[in-house]
């Protein structure tokens, strides 16, 4: 056997090995995706059971009472609060926010608007409401309960975040910028985790919020009752937590930054059905 034929044999053998490897990898991949699907399916079963017994309902009931109660320095109820569809109209209001409000000359998301109503109608002070923005084990802040009630009034309705007013389109663009803006000690952006399909952290699948199909998952289940600690949280808390996890400075309570992000993700989710307040692990 001359040297050339030996070489040829080696090449053929290597090619054979490569084919075998590829087949092996394919089987492994198929097996991996089957386990992944099984895990996802089990998670979905778990969620379905939990949703049936969601304590978010208790907060909705409490929010309804709070909405109608005469409170604050002005001793007024929130029944005259205009969430974009006219004073006191709650049905479908949550899925149509963030939107432009002429009286405030700015785009507001649901929680920001409700806080605005608490300040203008009831006379509460914004800085007092910002003292404890999120639920802890001793107290669930009023805006959290109110947002849960208002969100429940849009159960089963389609997300329809308006993009007609120039300010609505402007803030959508700002939201997209913030979503893609890489900074901080870890050089992170929202898009680092939520900008590609098929990413996950541990067993949690991460939705891609730039995708029209997946952006709805930012809204689904929020406001949500977290089984960890048994606390009710809104999207304000969730987005704040994203900033914290990226090691960014945390935004102020009901800040314009979060309205911008919610407009970007919300308008991307337009047309998908919102299932109402939910339950989270």
């Amino acid at each position: 056997m001359n040297r050339r034929s030996i070489k040829l044999e080696v090449v053929v053998a290597l090619a054979g090995l490569a084919v075998a490897c590829a087949a092996h990898a394919q089987r492994k991949e198929a097996a991996a995706s089957a386990t992944k699907d099984a895990v996802t399916a089990d998670f979905e079963k778990f969620r379905a059971v939990m949703e049936e017994a969601s304590p978010a309902e208790l907060f909705e009931a409490r929010g309804e009472e709070l909405w109608q109660a005469k409170r604050g320095p002005k001793n007024a109820s929130l029944e005259q609060c205009d969430l974009g569809l006219g004073p006191g109209v709650l049905k479908g209001a949550y899925v149509r926010m963030p939107r432009y409000f002429a009286d405030a000359d700015q785009v507001m998301d649901a929680e920001r608007r409700i806080v605005h109503c608490m300040v203008t109608l009831q006379g509460f002070k914004a800085q007092d409401l910002a003292k404890q923005p999120f639920s802890n084990e001793s107290r669930t802040p009023d805006p959290v309960v109110l947002v849960t009630y208002v969100a429940g009034q849009s159960r089963g309705m389609k997300i329809a975040v308006p993009q007609k007013h120039p300010k609505e389109r402007e803030i959508f663009g700002i939201g997209r910028e913030i979503y893609n803006f890489r900074a901080g000690p870890w050089d992170f952006s929202c898009a680092s985790c939520h900008g590609e399909d098929g990413k996950r952290i541990r067993t949690q699948e991460l939705p891609n919020f730039s995708s029209k199909e997946q952006a709805i998952r930012a809204f689904q289940g929020w406001p949500g009752y977290r089984m960890t600690g048994g606390l009710m949280h809104t999207l304000q808390w969730r987005l704040n937590d994203c900033f914290r996890q990226q090691r960014f400075p945390e935004p102020g309570y009901v800040s314009e930054t979060l309205t911008a992000l919610l407009t970007y993700v919300g308008a991307n989710a337009n047309g998908h059905v919102y299932k109402g307040p939910g339950i989270k692990r």
Binding site: E52, A53, P55, E57, L58, A61, R62, Y225, G230
Partner: protein, 103 residues
Amino acid sequence: MADPMRIRAVARDGSVNVKVLMSHEMETGQRKDASGKLVPAHFIQSVSATYQGKTVLQAQWGPAVSKNPFLEFNFRGGQKGDKIAVTWEDNKGEKRTDESTIN
């Protein structure tokens, strides 16, 4: 005063399926607060359900039951349109009764 319960009761095939969601802290008495002091126990101790004056469920609960508990049970013989009442009492003597119509 404790928040109201959410009760859903549905009659099917001669029995009634009841789902109850209660609003309660359910403190075990084992947890410590930020300053290291024990958080006093505060949990539902007894639960009962009555249909037309008859007790259809009676339960004794302890601190192992979760915060904002969910209870589901079936009983035979309930009629659509009738009322079902659920009562709980906690270790501090606080009580709450709520009613719902069977669908």
